[in-house]
Amino acid sequence: MSDLNAGLSPESLAQIDREVAKYPADQKRSAVMSALRIAQVEKRWLSSDTIKFVADYLGIAPMAAHEVATFYNMYDRSPVGKYKLTVCTNLPCALSGGADAGEYLQKKLGIGYNETTADGKFTLKEGECMGACGYAPVMLVNNHTMCNHMTPDAIDRKLAELN
């Protein structure tokens, strides 16, 4: 069944147009990563219909956009909570409490990785290197907001703020 709300708002389309303008006129495909990012910000996740809408908008094959949406790990191909929290647990972060931060969040939210709280508010993900190891533990909120030095206290404060 097709998603009747697959289309994007004029604001999102204007943002996509700005991205398209960065590339040669015959290379609109280069804007697909940004276009999918912008679509995901509006829709919170990427349904097949949203991906197809983006592909049509850029004039590329739906499969070309689908390949990108499935290759890069910050795109969500299934619904996520209002706040997606991604914790880096890679070695440099783990040495400074990254893995502990992930465990603390699991306990506090009562969910495991790749799960969403019953109220639909939080989804927890385990992430790979975010390029911010000196600020460990690091946590991303909805892909775009990085929070540094996430000790248990800092996590408590952040969750209270989001709630």
């Binding site: 960065k22 590339y23 040669p24 290379q27 495909r29 280069s30 804007a31 697909v32 990563m33 940004s34 999918l36 990012r37 590329i60 070309a64 390949e67 990108v68 290759f71 890069y72 790990n73 910050m74 795109y75 647990t89 890679n90 070695l91 440099p92 972060c93 783990a94 040495l95 400074s96 893995a99 992430g127 790979e128 290197c129 975010m130 390029g131 911010a132 190891c133 000196g134 600020y135 460990a136 991303l140 892909n143 775009h144 907001t145 990085m146």
Partner: protein, 429 residues
């Protein structure tokens, strides 16, 4: 935390001033003087490349390739469009220097890219920025806008015949895109799967056109070299290891952060700058150049200087300058398990030896860690490694094997203990 000790990338940056990144502050500390000098004096492309060769600047992304030489490969007389690309897709575990550059001194990178465009006759550039640092991407976009308004970017720069357009491209979570040809594929709007080389990007790059790709820190070093001269830059470091370098220090130290120091500085001094070992614990091991670099025991590191040649002689590589410090509580099996998982997760799946082999490496290290290791497992790891290394299109396969080889070389006893006693020698991570 970023600490500027001596160097070029953060020369004059005031980390306590929230406006130190902007164009006015950059110009005040000598920024865009190199570009103005080039335009005003009509300095030739050859002279700029010669200056870079004198400086002995080497690629700061990990490979350490001489920048002047790379720039000289670009076919300057090629009649069609050419491209200049900056690799800010910083995802090598332990590395966080380029993030601090685009946040704290984006105009040094912009000026370096404009000079690169001038020297190689290129009119369009892209900076590919790591997905997880969106705020830094927005900062870089703001800096680009400042540079356009000031006439440093765009058509007929500073009244000359030279035009250069520069744009930011935002990644969305794929370590492999730090590999230069995967990055080009990604810029073209495709999956980031590396290309077979040759042809090299200098002849077949972005959209099939000649392309030069450098790391963020490399470009950001260029304005200083042109302003102050290649010789002065060279003398900041040591022969064949010119200049200063940013080292990202993470792990068990009191003050993790970026430190810009001369190449050739003893590791012991760097460790001291980072506040020494956390909790006064004993240094066990260091991964000196990002997660792909073989680990070295602490006592070897304490006798090593931080430069390309010395680290190579010690049996590892300087790589991106990411220094991961581990104290005596670290279980090397557990540490390796996490790194092996990373490469398994990030393999793009294109080459069978890497796609399948990284899974084998992870699963075998994982079972050793869980007390299910078998006596033949260490030989198995070595054999899987041999079947990956050198048998793939890009270096990710090698990068997955090197940490395994380094661990087995220096900490074999710990792995054997794990297999025999089904538990760690030490309690920590």
């Amino acid at each position: 935390m970023t600490v500027y000790v001596k160097g070029v990338v953060f020369d004059g940056v005031d980390f306590d001033d929230p406006n130190s990144w902007n164009i006015d502050a950059y110009i005040q500390r000598g920024g865009y003087a190199a570009l103005k000098k080039i335009i005003a004096e009509g300095i030739s492309q050859d002279a700029i490349i010669a200056e870079l060769k004198t400086s002995s600047l080497r690629g700061r992304g990990g490979a350490g390739f001489p920048t002047g030489l790379k720039w000289s490969f670009m076919p300057r007389s090629f009649p069609g469009q050419k491209y200049l690309v900056c690799n800010t897709d910083e995802g090598e575990p332990g590395t966080f220097k380029d993030l601090d550059i685009i946040v704290n001194n984006p105009h040094a990178l912009i000026e370096g890219m404009i000079i690169g465009g001038y020297a190689m006759g290129i009119s369009v550039g892209y900076n590919y920025i790591h997905g997880e640092v969106f705020a830094a991407y927005e900062r870089f976009e703001a800096a680009l806008e400042e540079a356009r308004r000031a006439g440093f970017l765009g058509d007929k720069i500073l009244g000359s015949d030279f035009s250069f357009q520069l744009h930011a491209h935002h990644g969305y979570g794929a370590y492999i895109c730090g590999e230069e040809t995967a990055l080009l594929e990604s810029l073209e709007g495709k999956k980031g799967q590396p290309r077979f080389k040759p042809p090299f990007p200098a002849s077949f790059g972005l959209y099939g056109k000649p392309t030069t790709i450098n790391n963020t820190e490399t470009f950001a070093s260029v304005p200083y070299i042109i302003r102050e001269g290649g010789q002065k830059f060279l003398e900041l470091g040591k022969p064949n290891n010119g200049g200063t370098k940013l080292f990202s220090v993470s792990g068990h130290v009191n003050r993790p952060g970026n430190f810009e120091i001369p190449l050739g500085t003893p590791f012991s001094e760097l460790l001291e700058m980072a506040g020494g070992m956390r909790g006064g614990k004993k240094l066990k091991a260091v991964i000196p150049g990002g997660s792909s670099a073989p680990v070295l025991p602490g006592h070897i590191m304490m006798e090593t200087t931080m430069d390309y040649d010395a680290i190579a002689k010690a049996g590892s590589m300087l790589g991106s300058g990411a220094v991961i410090v581990m104290d005596e509580t670290v279980c090397m099996v557990k540490a390796l398990r996490r790194l092996s998982y990373f490469y398994y997760e990030e393999s793009c799946g294109q080459c069978t030896p890497c796609r399948e082999g990284t899974g084998w490496l992870y699963r075998v290290v994982d079972r050793i860690e869980r007390g299910l290791g078998r006596p033949e497992d260490l030989e198995l790891l070595e054999s899987v490694g041999k079947n990956i290394a050198g048998r793939t299109i890009c270096a990710l396969g090698d990068a997955a094997v090197m940490p395994v080889q380094g661990m087995l070389k220096h900490f074999r006893d710990e792995f054997l203990h794990h297999i025999e006693h089904k538990k760690c020698i030490v309690p920590g991570y």
